[in-house]
Symmetry: D3
Subunit: 134 residues, 6 copies
């Protein structure tokens, strides 16, 4: 029994993050299923589904945001994959992170580059889902 | 006696922010002229001048960053103008700020929208440079 | 043509923030009406409407959050009024901000106390809505 | 040779965090024993001991703060236990973290939920002290 | 009826910030006198009074902290005066803020430089206390 | 084929961080060599090389910054070593981190103290380079 917003959100989530994309949220199932539902309904069903901005530009904005907010690990690695799925080249991803040295400082950019390198290596090895830094 | 990096940076700064763009940095002249020089040489001469990512995408990344870092006033207003100069529509600008509600929280997005509204009003009134919120 | 979530959210917003509470969001009408709608539908219609936690506790959590995120002015002043409406005494409000000295540092707590003092003065003067610091 | 503030603080720390609560601070013994002393004297002996706000409300404020400041691991896990000791249900804890999606953004709430889930599992398994994420 | 810690703190506060230094805290008198007391007892009476690090180095650390935490106005302007009182030259103050461009990003450093410039101008004009940006 | 700024930066980096200091940046070689170059040319070749402030004071400012920005692991551990190389005693390092409890909050100071303790232990064990927390 899902809503139209949920269904649209799940389709958008799969479009951006691939078949295994929603799996990143599965760890919410036990403790906070409503948070998972809101990510799908609100973030993907409402915001990412809006036609006013293309998905590639949205992923560029999100990558910049995650570097500035110091999010690392699964969170940024999932969105690096999303950016690549949305039409960014690897060079584009690196470039957005580089640019954040101006705004978030050099250590934030250097630290995010660890997630970039790990993601590229996982993709080269055919790993289907972003892996936790552990 | 400027360097090639400075000249390239100044040209890029004018390309993105217009004839009056560098004026935002003039307040550094007395107390920290080297900081002004580095913004031109490093931020604009090195990073914004790189061909690996188009300027429109760079301005989208910067807008997202400034919302997440809670920068307001002149700083974000200058980059809203920069985004428009780089080919973003007003709708694109609004959309990037909206999307940041997911990452930086609603109050950060709402607060940044004040700078968006003020900038649009200044542009409609033909004001040449971003005005301080005061 | 509003949704049930919107109507529930608007009722909850009025319950917490009073008759003039929604007015704080009116400045979004021109530039980002969807952001206003989401605040009402999502923040108030979904989260603040959940029965799992009482409104007084929610306002305490929000006050703590706003001090830690360095939000000031209208944003924190509206929620100080909200906390008082939800059953907090003025002493409770002061106490939550004081406690944040441990987590957000002393300057953040001192700065937030400016908004506390201004709000109490505005209420004593019978001012109906939180006033911008300007 | 302790002060009255220290003794009051240690009693309050044990009241909130249990018999093993102070153990989280033992890692400060070698390198910064004064920092441990201040946490006990100032944070617990002065602030948490004040009668102006009940401990349950204080723990709700602290949980909100830690999510917004992106503190994870031992720090937030100790305070989740503290909130439960202070009268919060597990549902209350989840709810405070959920609500922070509005203010700190979705990734911060999702990330904090990892600490919630781990803490509940550790409690179910009878683990006496919060465990490091490693 | 003050404590030894309070008296030591007040003396240290006056030593660093001058005769008018404590006045910055007077706005706390009505709404949160205990917060003012803790700043004096804890921050100045305990930490700034420790002999393990000289006051000039402490003020350099504090200036760096305030730029990184985006504190502005009275807070950073009081500590710029404090750094000068502690033996820093104006050039040292500028240099610490410049260096933060690496860590806190360029906009944070540029914004802090506004407070540096205003403080130097106020000192040149013989203004006894830091003035609010308003 | 390096520039004078690069050579000056590399010499300064080695002076502050020791023979193995540059190795911390080697992980950038594959994915973002330009970021490594900028750290050397800009951060070390331009800012740390300026004569206006001594290196010991610069390292104190940087330590304060890293605590406030919640950087941990390799980043802060490298700069703790840098501070010691620049003439700080271990007591000075501890003292700067302690002082940040006032500005960045107690949990940030406590968490940074983990990196202090690990670094001291690594130095006592003769470990040549800062080790990742893993």
């Amino acid at each position: 029994m899902t809503t139209a917003r949920f269904d649209a959100g799940l389709a958008k989530l799969r479009e951006i993050h691939g078949q295994y994309g929603p799996a990143v949220l599965d760890r919410l199932d036990d403790v906070a299923p409503d948070l998972k539902r809101w990510v799908i309904e609100f973030a993907f069903g409402e915001i990412y589904s809006r036609p006013q901005l293309d998905i590639k530009s949205r992923q560029i904005a999100t990558l910049a945001a995650l570097v500035c907010l110091h999010h690392s690990g699964l969170e940024i690695k999932a969105h690096i994959r999303g950016a690549l799925n949305a039409g960014c080249t690897r060079e584009h991803v690196v470039e957005v992170v580089l640019q954040m040295a101006i705004y978030a400082g050099f250590p934030a950019a250097i630290s995010a580059m660890d997630s970039v390198r790990e993601t590229f290596a996982e993709l080269d090895a055919g790993v289907e889902k972003p892996q936790s830094a552990l």
